[in-house]
Symmetry: C2
């Protein structure tokens, strides 16, 4: 039988049909095996893990969630733990250990080979979300005096435990990076060509402490497959490969989505996050914004006499504040995203203001005009009230778009994350000002 879902897998374990299990598991992709294991009942996970092809167990392990990794480590022997940790790429090992409680980390490191342990310990010291924390130490290094033929021999001898063999790094005796050469370049060269003559010396690299977002931007800009990472003395210590960058790009975008909706960022999938944690991530900003909105409410108190005299004025408040919020968040979203993609910088301040003023003029006039027509149709014979509401609407749109475009740039200028200057904050700020403008115009024209 073929394994189609986690129920098939579960059944094989319950029926103790290990023969089929061992013969069918190799037909699945590593990511798919991990995915099926996530849905197994916990008592069967270790049994399946032990049935995995030995040469693939470590890689499948690296695809599992940290909850599942912890469960497996608890259920296997120290010797088995040692095998896994020695086979894992060191960046995956560090990722796994970062999520484990101290006693598990201790047990795992004790079971690891001494050189693996040293390397993992070094990786665990890099700041989270830094280039160092996502790099791998398993790369092919060549010397510049080697021939292409010697290089191929070296690659073939060492390829097995390297994360990528397709870009090779040429280092000197002190591990300084002298150049890179791709396997494609080696293919195109003669067997007796010297590496020094064919290597690329104009190498893009990053520093262990650089932010992973900057590293991802380098990959996007230069279409890289891998990037060398150097330490503070410019020695080559690792490489970042593009498959890890795909994950980083997803993660950074998810974080921005969360921040822009006024939440604390989290890597954990929604369905796997507890209600309590979700609430904790959301409540701080909601509380801050609620208190700010109370202040906006206070503004309204000053104009009580206006809406007691003309109660219909109150009915335009949602339209004004919602339109202001939407107009402002359109602008802030474009500017925040533009900054995340390195397309907009603080020096573009003037250009952004000019664009937003132009856009808000067009948009503001169109919306105000439609609003004006609707009001003179609904309240015939009255011109001043429709006029004052429409003027307030126009001013709100211009204000909202300018504030929405400028505040993210301002945030970056004072080293705050621009993503916090998104819809929720913009809306709250614009609300207060648009209501003041509204009632100022209204009291001026109608009283």
């Amino acid at each position: 039988m073929e394994i189609k879902d986690h129920r098939d897998l579960e059944r094989l374990v319950v029926e103790k049909d290990f023969k089929t299990l061992r013969s069918e598991l190799p037909n699945l992709q590593n990511a798919d095996v991990a995915h099926l294991m996530e849905d197994l009942s916990l008592e069967h996970v270790v049994i399946v893990f032990r049935s995995l092809p030995k040469n693939r167990a470590a890689e499948i392990f690296s695809y599992l969630s940290s909850d599942m990794q912890g469960h497996i480590v608890d259920g296997i022997t120290d010797q088995e733990v040692g095998t896994i940790i020695n086979q894992l790429f060191v960046d995956d090992a560090a990722d796994f250990l970062e999520e484990m409680p101290a006693n598990v980390v201790k047990r795992v490191l004790k079971s690891a080979a001494p050189d693996t342990r040293a390397l993992i310990n070094q990786f665990l010291q890099y700041p989270p979300e830094s280039a160092g924390s996502i790099m791998t130490a398993e790369f092919v290094d060549l010397k510049k005096k080697m021939t292409v033929h010697q290089s191929f021999s070296r690659i073939r001898r060492t390829a097995f435990d390297k994360e990528t063999v397709y870009t090779c790094y040429v280092t000197d005796a002190n591990r300084y990076l002298e150049g890179i050469v791709t396997v494609k370049r080696l293919f195109l060269a003669d067997d007796d060509a010297i590496i020094e003559d064919i290597m690329e010396t104009n190498v893009i690299s990053a520093h262990t402490t650089d932010d992973q977002e900057q590293v991802a931007q380098l990959f996007a800009k230069y279409d890289l497959l891998s990037l060398p990472i150097v330490d503070h003395e410019n020695r080559l210590v690792g490489i970042v490969t593009v498959d890890d960058i795909v994950g980083v790009i997803h993660q950074e975008a998810t974080e921005d989505f969360q921040k822009m909706a006024a939440m604390a960022p989290s890597e954990k999938p929604y369905l796997k996050t507890s209600v309590f944690t979700l609430a904790r991530h959301r409540i701080t900003w909601l509380m801050i914004l609620m208190v700010s909105a109370m202040i906006t409410g206070g503004v309204l108190k000053k104009y009580e006499m206006a809406f007691i005299a003309i109660p219909v004025l109150v009915t335009f408040i949602p339209m004004l504040t919602d339109t202001g919020g939407n107009a402002g968040s359109q602008s802030s979203t474009l500017v925040i995203r533009g900054m995340a993609l390195n397309e907009i910088d603080t020096k573009d301040f003037g250009k952004v203001i000019l664009k937003e003023l132009g856009v808000s003029a067009i948009v503001g006039i169109s919306l105000s005009f439609v609003n004006f027509l609707r009001l003179i149709w609904m309240y015939p014979g009255n011109i001043l009230m429709p006029l004052s509401v429409s003027m307030a609407l126009f001013a709100t749109v211009v204000l909202a778009k300018t504030v929405g475009g400028v505040l993210p740039l301002f945030a970056k200028a004072i080293n705050t994350d621009p993503a916090t200057m998104a819809a929720p904050v913009i809306t709250t700020i614009v609300d207060a000002f648009s209501l003041i403008i509204y009632f100022k115009i209204v009291t001026l024209l109608l009283f």
Copy 2:
């Protein structure tokens, strides 16, 4: 002198120092040369383009914006156009031509070699944002009876004009895909091993008409470097490489950011988009939402007597609607993003409702409690008014989070883009209902 920015480049052209230009340009990365060219004055662009190293001109061309590509094509001879188009990878050529006016497309295709022209024409027929539109036709194909040694010879002979050589595709006489073999696997095998014995037959592939977002999800899930693309008869027609996927992931996230802020999506960078286009992308949704908010305002009219009697009730409207909007957009953002990352599906409907009810209970009680304390402190001696405002706030949070969590799932169930069910729409819907609840509670408790 070294070329550091576009002014250095400009100066070399103005001073007609072509010797330095030709000697310095090779020291720059392709992406950086393209970036500098974007900032040149238009009359100098063609001069710089003609000074580029011949073997890199096409690749630098592929990094340029379509405006700049069009300008260059207008300024060079048909023969030069032919050289560029024949050297471009066919996916880059198709991307370029898609943005050109008809007369330019005609001239370019006329200048291309016949087989290139046929291939480009085929690529131009794939739907935009499909796997076919981002794939490349330049891959290494092997036959299953070849030895590893023969395979290496074939790769070395054909590597020059292939986009990637690191995954090779094993096809039969009818171009059916029989398996894949990576160069790493070839390195690890003996020279006389037969491809058939070492190739991977359990191959992940996609269809030419599949959406690029699905393709990107396959890369993320399986850590792929390239993916074979097959036609409707399951014949191999091209491959997608991971460097193009990095662009797709950025583009898809940007589109979601834009849709979630109530804008028509656009690929063009903000600073390069005209004020008129920006306004056009924003106005439709603003208009729809403004009219909807007017309806919300209409709701308030029914309760005029309440706020004429107790005017302070009006001052709580911004706090209620803003908190409702923020609470709802937190939930909708997490669910929309979860669906984009394939972590949440319509079948998780029940789980999402339960989570949001739980979260909104915790968040709603906390916010209402703080709000209640603040109101009995500000309006001492009055219990019913603080109580009714806090009850309305609690109901608003629960309603907002449930609606925010459920509407994106509902959108997907009826085949609409979940990203449209984001903050702006949620806010408008929740506003109306929260104000009705507020005034219902108020009239019940205070009158």
